[in-house]
């Protein structure tokens, strides 16, 4: 019934290109306006403002006239000896946690993809750590690692592995590794789900064909599963690397950056400079450098992914 009416309207509009067309365009913009305002308010404005602040020696949260320093805050970052320490911690955290999450996550996903009894239950169980807020996760592990009454020392003692309580968060390098372990425990879940989703897209007849060709389970994994999982791995790798590079909350709760700054990361250091020291200009420059680093990482991964896909096509 309504078809002829719908068809007629554009003809009329096209014929009278002018007020009617502009009216619809205006209407379209009007519809887009709320979304544009939100993007402007919560993304574009803070991004632009942070950049502007990074060019001034801002040392208060309140408005005022602050000296323009140009790229001074950026060059200062590279002259700051503490920055290199926290950058090293961040790189280590990112590499080890992402690597461990990827290996562990792939292993668990393969297990959950197998025809297990009550598979739905095991799959739901894996969500739990990820569903836990990071703050709760941090507090939980802080208690588990406590050198005086922590559960980990209790377990080691009960199993007669060690009777001397270990200060898990007592020395800088060990503490960094223990924080990584807590992060891995929580974030492996998300890797599992990405990989599991990828595994479910692989047709089972491919494995059947491989089996007929005499491929072992191991070579089927290396030559079939892994290459076909590459897109899922790349996506989860980008996400986890970026998240790990920005790590803040688990450090804030578990160690406060200590002992001896051993668990301070770039994001935590940025927070300290901006809010504790009120060096907002310097903090903004640090924040921008994090953005640049994350952007570069994302570009590298996406390029690798594209190359991988191209190679696959060939």
């Amino acid at each position: 019934m309504s078809v002829p009416q719908v068809a007629a309207a554009p003809v009329k509009k096209l014929g009278a290109r002018g007020s009617g067309a502009r009216g619809e365009a205006r209407f379209a913009f009007l519809l887009l306006l709320p979304a544009a305002l939100v993007v402007f308010g919560v993304v574009l404005y803070p991004v632009a403002r942070t950049f502007v602040v990074s060019l001034f020696a801002v040392d208060s949260p309140l408005p005022g006239s602050y000296p323009f320093v140009g790229l001074g805050n950026y060059t200062r970052v590279f002259r700051d000896p503490d920055f290199y320490g926290v950058l090293g911690n961040t790189m280590y955290f990112t590499l080890v946690s992402t690597g461990a999450e990827l290996i562990l996550g792939t292993a668990v996903a393969l297990l959950l993809n197998a025809p297990l009894r009550a598979r739905w239950f095991w799959r739901s169980l894996v969500v739990l750590p990820w569903a836990l807020p990071t703050i709760v996760n941090g507090a939980l592990w802080r208690w588990i690692y406590n050198g005086q009454y922590g559960a980990l020392n209790g377990l080691l003692e009960a199993l007669h592995i060690s009777s001397t309580p270990v200060q898990w968060l007592g020395s800088p390098f060990l503490a960094l590794n223990m924080v990584i372990a807590a992060d891995v425990w929580k974030n492996t879940s998300i890797v599992v789900f990405f990989i599991l989703a990828g595994l479910q897209t692989i047709p089972s007849d491919l494995y059947e064909a491989a089996r007929i060709d005499g491929a072992s389970a191991w070579s089927a994994f290396w030559r079939l599963t892994l290459p076909l999982l590459a897109p899922s791995i790349a996506v989860v790798l980008v996400l986890r690397t970026i998240e790990a590079f920005k790590v803040f909350d688990i450090i804030y709760v578990m160690t406060g950056g200590g002992p001896a700054s051993g668990t301070q990361t770039v994001a935590f250091y940025t927070y300290l400079q901006a809010f504790s020291n009120q060096l907002f200009g310097y903090g903004s420059a640090l924040a921008y450098l994090i953005v640049v680093a994350v952007f570069a990482l994302a570009m590298v991964y996406l390029r690798l992914l594209r190359q991988g896909q191209m190679a696959g096509v060939e």
Partner: protein
Amino acid sequence: MDHIETTQPMELVGTGPTRRVVLTVGGGLGLATFLAACGVGGGSGASGGAGSGKGAIRALVMKQAGYSEEDIRKMTSTFQAANPDIKVTLDFVAYEALHDKTVAAAPAGTYDVVLIDVIWPAEFGTKKIVADVSSKWPASWKEQMLGGAVATPQYNSHFYGVPWILDTKYLFFNTAHLAKAKVDAAQLDTWDGVLKAARALKASGVTKYPLVWSWQQAEALICDYTTLLGAFGGTFLDGSGKPAFQHGGGVQALEFMHQSITDGLTNPTSTQSLEEDVRRVFSAGQASMAMNWTYMFGMANDPKQSQVAGDVAVLQTPAGPGGRPGVNGSMALAVSAQSQHQDAAWKYITYLTSPPVQDKFALSSLPVWKSSYDDAAVVKTNPAVVEQAKKQLADLILRPQVKNYNAISLVLQAEIQNALVGKKPAQQALNDAADKTATLLGP
């Protein structure tokens, strides 16, 4: 259906935004964003106002040491009963979050009342985050309050708040543990005596680690270091305002701390502990001696929260070669400079800091008023601590009163921890801290 499919693209071509429109709008939006962001500083920039003395106010306080959340809620409800036209909303945060939340909330004027530590008036006052209330301060208060309290919200002869929590660190000990190890409590009058007692307690097997401290990389570490620095005769800054903690007493204090760890007298969890961790270990009977704020006395003697209730005694800070100054760990209530209800905020502050309210809650935190210490009811609330406080509160040592104290404190925390975990010798750690501090202090 076919008809519709053929007409849709035409309509889109005819009315959709062209590339030029998209670029113009996008570019305009980008430029507008950049220009809008060009005002440096943050927030609306609106400055505060006195208000009508009525309305809704919001206060940022601490859920840690001093008055408990329950105490503060009780005080607030009696204030509201007496002032029904003022509604107070309370936000509680851990001490570690207090400074940063105050800073972050300042531009928006979220809070009308903020609790500030003794180390912040210089920073918050000069940056106009809290209001200068010198004109509202009755001259009589300077006489009626204890000296350490009067100094708390003061910087450059200006007052930036009203003292509310008057505190220093005391030495708590477990009387049953000392009796078991046959240690005379009189020995705890000096730091040398404390170490001797700790050795005896360890040797007798009463506690594996007799001492526990709050030496996490946080301000709590600086509080304990300040106590020891004072006892060993050191100072943070010299007469000309240059770092001096890397000489004499400052170094001895850090060596004392490190040695007590390597000797197995200090619980190794201390480097990861805050005050609440110290209280838990002490209350579980796993330490015989601990430095902490007043509040621990009540909680460690409460059978509901402590396994050592009834065995807890308190002494003023032990003496060293430089005397026994206690760290000034007092806090004040301040009016936010961006508050639109400064009169109502002031009313609330003067109520919370008034002698009757402070006297009533003396078990959690001792009053700032001299007269309270002669009030039998107050003494009865907390006789053991009042007895020590009378001596200790007259002898307090301040941490550096400088605008960028926090930055200096972060440097010191990191370097002191470097020494405590054995990454650097004490002297080198403090030399490094002094170099960085000198840069932060400027010429």
